[in-house]
Symmetry: C2
Amino acid sequence: MTAQNPAADGPGGESAAGQDRKATILRAAIDVFATKGYHGCRIADVAREAKVAYGLVYHYFKNKDELLQSVFRVGWDFFVGRVKEAIAANGELESRIRGICDVCFEAYRKDPRAVRVLVLQVARSPAIGGRSRQTAFEEIIGLCTAMFTEARAAGQLRAGMDPTLAALLLFGALEMGLTAFVVGLSDASDPAALERAKAQIADSFLNGMLAPEAEWKSERSATRSRAARRS
Amino acid sequence: MTAQNPAADGPGGESAAGQDRKATILRAAIDVFATKGYHGCRIADVAREAKVAYGLVYHYFKNKDELLQSVFRVGWDFFVGRVKEAIAANGELESRIRGICDVCFEAYRKDPRAVRVLVLQVARSPAIGGRSRQTAFEEIIGLCTAMFTEARAAGQLRAGMDPTLAALLLFGALEMGLTAFVVGLSDASDPAALERAKAQIADSFLNGMLAPEAEWKSERSATRSRAARRS
DNA sequence: CCCGCGGCTGATTCTTGAATCAGTAGGGGT
DNA sequence: ACCCCTACTGATTCAAGAATCAGCCGCGGG
């Protein structure tokens, strides 16, 4: 008992301390979902992890589903934002792809738990997240499809390659690569292993995806990538 | 009580009928899990789908989890078997890969529901299936890792490519490709779309994975895939 | 004919855990 | 001084649905 909250704001204003607590709960939710899974945990677990009263969770979140929803939205929006940046920051297809790989692996390095939740819990699961999962999925795929469509127009895609399928395969490769770490099949504690995996995913994806030299129109800057490919 | 007698066969009725019922329930479980998900359905749904009394489900399966376990084991064993065949039936890396792609897409064509359950429900999920998920995952990946290791020894792998990672990427691509259909992002009702996707997955994977001509020792038969790449 | 046995039934019981709610604390406005 | 509003608490309530169990039905054998 004894609600020990030294900070409270005036009426009508949002309490900074309140946002603090909310963030704590969100964080705890990520950790608990990551270890026990959405269905495998109780709200009590989240409350305990956050060191917060059971009821407070319901003070900030309508129900368990909204909690998951929030975890997802925060994590996903961040991720999508980073991917957009990676695309915008690079003009060339290869560096864009590598940028996207960077974003994924960096996210995992920085917060494996969160990635685990996104990859393992939300991404797959019919009921969980309702329509937002489907939407989110299409959000990223659409983003990258556009990128690949542009690349194809520039003649950079292997002939006959569907841009949407290209987008799917990129994330398929990334997701499975990350899953290996998440699931413990690869050694996540070794940063070098992460780097190696990242590089190899990008390499194998690119070299299968880039059109062969012969067909390049290349009004773009002369690509060093050609040289890289050779070796 | 607990009628756990496997050797018992009814007089005229035959225990074959019993196996029949059990199979019916298993089939119903696949369909229900596929549409509503493991957590999203009740045993009553399975019973209704199987047109069987509620209690009979518990007559044949200890509990809900064992039901899922059975669904998984049956489906997965079949799948792994087919993959083994595909590897054994072909001597060359490229045809083996294409064979594996065939198996996956054929399985989907034949029984989308079952694939859906394997891909969406069991594959990801910490609690579900307990340790069997982990094991099963390693089963396939190990199988293919061996294949790629062999290929690398023969100089067919791009330099520096890790066999396990190669295995992961192959299934990452396949799984995501299939997911697109499962989730409705691609048109599953169009058989041509399936064929196209299958071919493109194999192509993009192979052309990124096969070592470039220059580095080939090639005691193996010259692959037409080289020519395909050119065009 | 009746006894028992095994496949089978589905209402009943029991567990779990989500969500509620009556209430405390304390601060700031009036 | 009072009031009220927001943050917060955790025992209590309640529904869902997993698992049980008391018993039926039809047959074959004694």
